[in-house]
Amino acid sequence: MDRGKSRLRSFLLTLGAASALFLSGCSPDYIVLNPAGPVAREEMYLMILSTVLILAVVVPVFALLIFIVWRYRDRPGNPAAYRPEWAESRVLELVWWGIPIAIVGVLGFYTAKTTFALTEPPESNVQPLTIQVTSLDWKWLFMYPDKGIATVNYCEIPTGVPVQFELTADAPMNSFWVPQLGGQEYTMPGMAMRLWLQADQPGTYYGHGANFTGEGFAHMSFDVVAKSPSEFAQWVNQIKTSSSGLTLAGYQELKKPGVMGTVSYSSYPPGLFEDTVWVNGGRYFPDMMHMDRQANGGAGAAPGDPNAMCSPPMR
């Protein structure tokens, strides 16, 4: 079982490398095909598997089409058979009902497996890092609840450590996408979504909002910088000592629509993320917040608090 799995792996890997090479001519620009972490890699395997499987249908279709059109052209004296009333064949039809069903079976199996696998942290024996992300018009705010620091339009992560991104929006919904680390997930007002990503190698990875949010959307790119854990710890300390803090007033300012560069904050109002989720609708769908507010330290207004409607319940 395990042997078979690893054989499939290595087969896919070779094929993947070959097709990536073919597609890109070695160009690193094909970032989706140059994964830098386990999540993106899993997803790429599935892309390759699905490509191979569909080629099993597409190639015969092309071949048949070319052959048939060439062979049965209505030319004078064409010697090919002509059977105008031949219109049924149980066997043939079984073949082309059967093959696609088999393909969907195989692909469906691996899809289900990976879909479930990706809801778990990629690396299970390392303490994960949580980063809370709020998409704003038109910028990204990253908060590190364990470190107390925050950044705008870039974030840093340690390599080899699974990172749980918790995502929400304090603006129209966007989508958080870092192609080399893994696929995207929507950021939605009033909900906290989870996305596991992990970087294996140090590097700077391109990220961008993927769901349209209006005028400044095209400028919503950010970098995810992966560093060794020790360098990452250094960076955290440096932000703590050399930057100023984000205040509530500062957050209200940040929220105003606009495009900006990168910023770092040594601190931010605790529970800012949870309160944002709460105010934007989490209060009505507590189960949709996918998290225990108390455990995360958010102390927003109690449900039904009339003040909370208009003024966010943040200290």
Binding site: M47, W86, W97, M173
Partner: protein
């Protein structure tokens, strides 16, 4: 006074925006003046009213749908060329964010709702009654209402460009972005009302054709003797009836949010935007099959005719149509796998989405084996049908790739997705509608479209298609997101975008060739004197071209699936010629101005709601009510065509 005028011009006519708007205003004004002048000079107003605006004849309504669809293909195409021009180079300044956002929104909306929908309705109308041996649709008056609702809905949507501003929240128009808070202008209201008005018409069309196909078939035409195009219309009609109400509700609730201050989908006060997303796609996914199934139907007719062979696996073809229309209700979540529905939900919808590909794949093989051991003539309709096969095979294949939920986390919202749906929508729907247009054109107008110009159009459009969209798959792998009006140079996206733009221009040239072809053929196209220019197989080819307004002088009795083909083979074509002894007076529906006036009233009401101007809104709704009341007291809505007139017509056509 002058100040007030200036103010008006700046607020509503957007004259501060500069030459693009002034140019469009001038162009529109000139066109209107031109049309009015021509109609007046040639004294054609009465003709326009009697023959077209009040008609309830399905063939004329079909022709009007087709003209509207071609005009909208032009408008959506211009939008596309503008976008591609902006994207040709990194950091380009041809369009700014505001304009780009408006243009992709109008492009997407127009292409799906005001191009693809009327195009399929054109073929529904022109073909179905003739194929099933009927004299009209089940509800001719309602049919005209549908058309005018579509027409005025589309008009309302289109005037946003020069009056008040276009919508700019994407064709899916997700809240909260499309809520008042983030999108205060009238544009979004235009979107909601334009689609809503034409959508009512679409539901009525679905009902109409379902009833027509179930109730109006000629004697002997059992369901399993129905031509496959009619089957595809049956499937599409059922889907319309079940899918469109979801859209109606979604649009209505969002409109209430915007004009009545409710909070169905707002960010604050308990609104839930994901509800809209679900409702939209519960309609949206079936919608793409609604537009593509009739294309499949057209291909089935064309492939059989031009291979001179029976369609292969008729039973499979019918069951795959029905399977598609059922499964496609259970796939809508694949448009938002990344909204965190959970792995169980995503797995279900992923596998269902892959499963839709199975019956679709079966159809492709059946078309291939229809050609196998046939005699293939590469006339224009067949050229487009053949080009469809590889194009749709790739588009369907990339669709299966997108259905793999975890992989979709990487494809979603990227240019990979853009390439995929253009490949299915253009390769499927546009190719299908063009093939159908070329195929049934002689039946509508009595002449063929010129082959030579048509081949130029074909090659430009096809080559352009691949040059335009293949690079976009690669751009998706490079991480390029959709709906970006500008992109930086350092990501390496520049060259492929330039290639893609060149492809779009080639397609544009292809379209111009089609225009040239139509204009040229009106004068010089080969006349169709037999009524059967392609050696057809089904009932419509037994009639003269163009078809007399009552279609069949005597209703035929059907004994075979490929009725006309069989009769031709057995030398019994005169079985379908009318005999003077059999002729009876024919009951036909009377023309009516009410459908047109209902459309106008809806337009006025919609316009009022767009700007929250209550006077026109109420006046328009009263107009609708008045027309309905007037109509409900019209008891005398049929007339009888006397035998002598039928006889005279048939004799003049050489059929008696």
């Amino acid at each position: 006074m002058l100040e007030a005028l200036r103010n008006f011009a700046d607020t509503y006519l957007m004259w501060h925006e500069g030459p693009l708007i002034w140019g469009s205003d001038a162009l529109i004004l000139l066109t209107v003046i031109g049309i009015v002048a021509v109609l007046t000079y040639f004294k054609k107003w009465g003709w326009l009213w009697r023959e077209w605006l009040t008609t309830v004849d399905h063939k004329k309504i079909g022709i009007m749908y087709m003209i509207a669809a071609l005009l909208m293909l032009f408008r959506g195409g211009v939008d596309a060329e503008l976008m591609r021009t902006q994207l040709a180079f990194p950091g380009n300044h041809f369009l700014d964010a505001e304009h780009y956002n408006q243009i992709f929104t109008t492009h997407g909306t127009i292409m799906i709702l005001f191009m693809a929908m009327p195009f399929i309705f054109a073929l529904f109308n022109i073909v179905v009654p003739l194929q099933i041996g009927a004299r009209d649709v089940a509800f001719p008056f309602l049919n005209a209402v549908s058309f005018w609702l579509f027409f005025f809905g589309a008009l309302l949507f289109n005037i946003s460009f020069v009056f008040g501003g276009s919508p700019d929240a994407g064709w899916v128009s997700y809240p909260p972005l499309s809520e008042l808070e983030f999108d205060p202008g009238p544009g979004e209201n235009y979107y909601l009302l334009g689609i809503q008005i034409s959508g009512i018409g679409s539901i009525a069309t679905g009902i109409n054709f379902l009833a027509t196909i179930l109730k109006m078939r000629a004697p002997g035409m059992t369901l399993m003797r129905m031509p496959l195009f009619t089957w595809s219309v049956l499937a599409a009609s059922i889907m319309i009836i079940f899918a469109f109400p979801a859209l109606t509700v979604a649009l209505a609730l969002l409109l209430l949010d915007r004009i009545a201050g409710t909070h169905f989908f707002t960010m604050l006060h308990g609104g839930n935007p994901t509800m809209f997303v679900n409702l939209f796609w519960i309609w949206g996914h079936p919608e793409v099959y609604i537009v593509v199934l009739p294309a499949f139907g057209a291909f089935s007719e064309i492939v059989a005719t031009f291979s001179r062979k029976r369609i292969f696996g008729y039973g499979s073809m019918v069951s795959s149509l029905m399977l598609i229309s059922i499964i496609s209700y259970f796939v809508w979540v694949h448009h938002f796998f990344t909204m965190g529905a959970g792995p169980d939900v995503n797995t279900f919808f992923a596998i269902a989405s892959m499963a839709v590909a199975i019956p679709t794949g079966v159809k492709v093989f059946n078309w291939l084996f229809t050609m196998f051991q046939g005699r293939i003539r590469l006339s224009l309709p067949m050229l487009w049908a053949i080009a469809f096969v590889p194009c749709f095979a790739i588009g369907g294949a990339t669709g299966v790739m997108l259905a793999v939920a975890p992989a979709d986390y990487q494809y979603h919202n990227s240019y990979f997705l853009i390439a995929h749906f253009h490949q299915t929508l253009i390769g499927g729907v546009v190719f299908g509608m063009l093939a159908g247009m070329y195929y049934w054109w002689p039946k509508m107008f009595g002449f063929k479209l010129d082959e030579r110009l048509g081949r130029w159009a074909f090659w430009f459009f096809n080559a352009g298609f691949y040059v335009c969209f293949m690079p976009q798959y690669a751009l998706g792998f490079m991480g390029m997101q959709r709906r970006m009006y500008v992109y930086p140079a350092d990501l390496g996206w520049g060259p492929l975008n330039l290639v893609s733009t060149i492809g779009a221009y080639l397609m544009g040239i292809g379209f111009l060739f089609i225009v040239a072809q139509v204009v040229y053929s009106i004068r010089h196209g080969e006349r169709d004197l037999t009524g059967d220019p392609w050696d057809g197989r089904t009932l419509e080819w037994s009639l003269p071209s163009p078809v007399p307004h009552y279609n069949f002088a005597a209703i035929p009795t059907v004994t075979d699936r490929d009725m006309w083909w069989v009769l031709k083979n057995e030398g019994r074509t005169e079985d379908l010629q009318p005999k003077s002894a059999d002729l009876k007076p024919i009951h036909m529906p009377k023309n009516s101005g009410a459908p047109f006036l209902i459309g106008v009233s809806f337009f006025v009401a919609g316009f009022g709601f767009v700007f929250n101007w209550w006077l026109p809104a109420v006046a328009g709704l009263c107009g609708v009510a008045a027309c309905l009341a007037w109509r409900s007291f019209q008891y005398d809505d049929e007339y009888s065509v006397p035998v002598e007139e039928v006889m005279a017509t048939e004799i003049s056509l050489g059929r008696l």
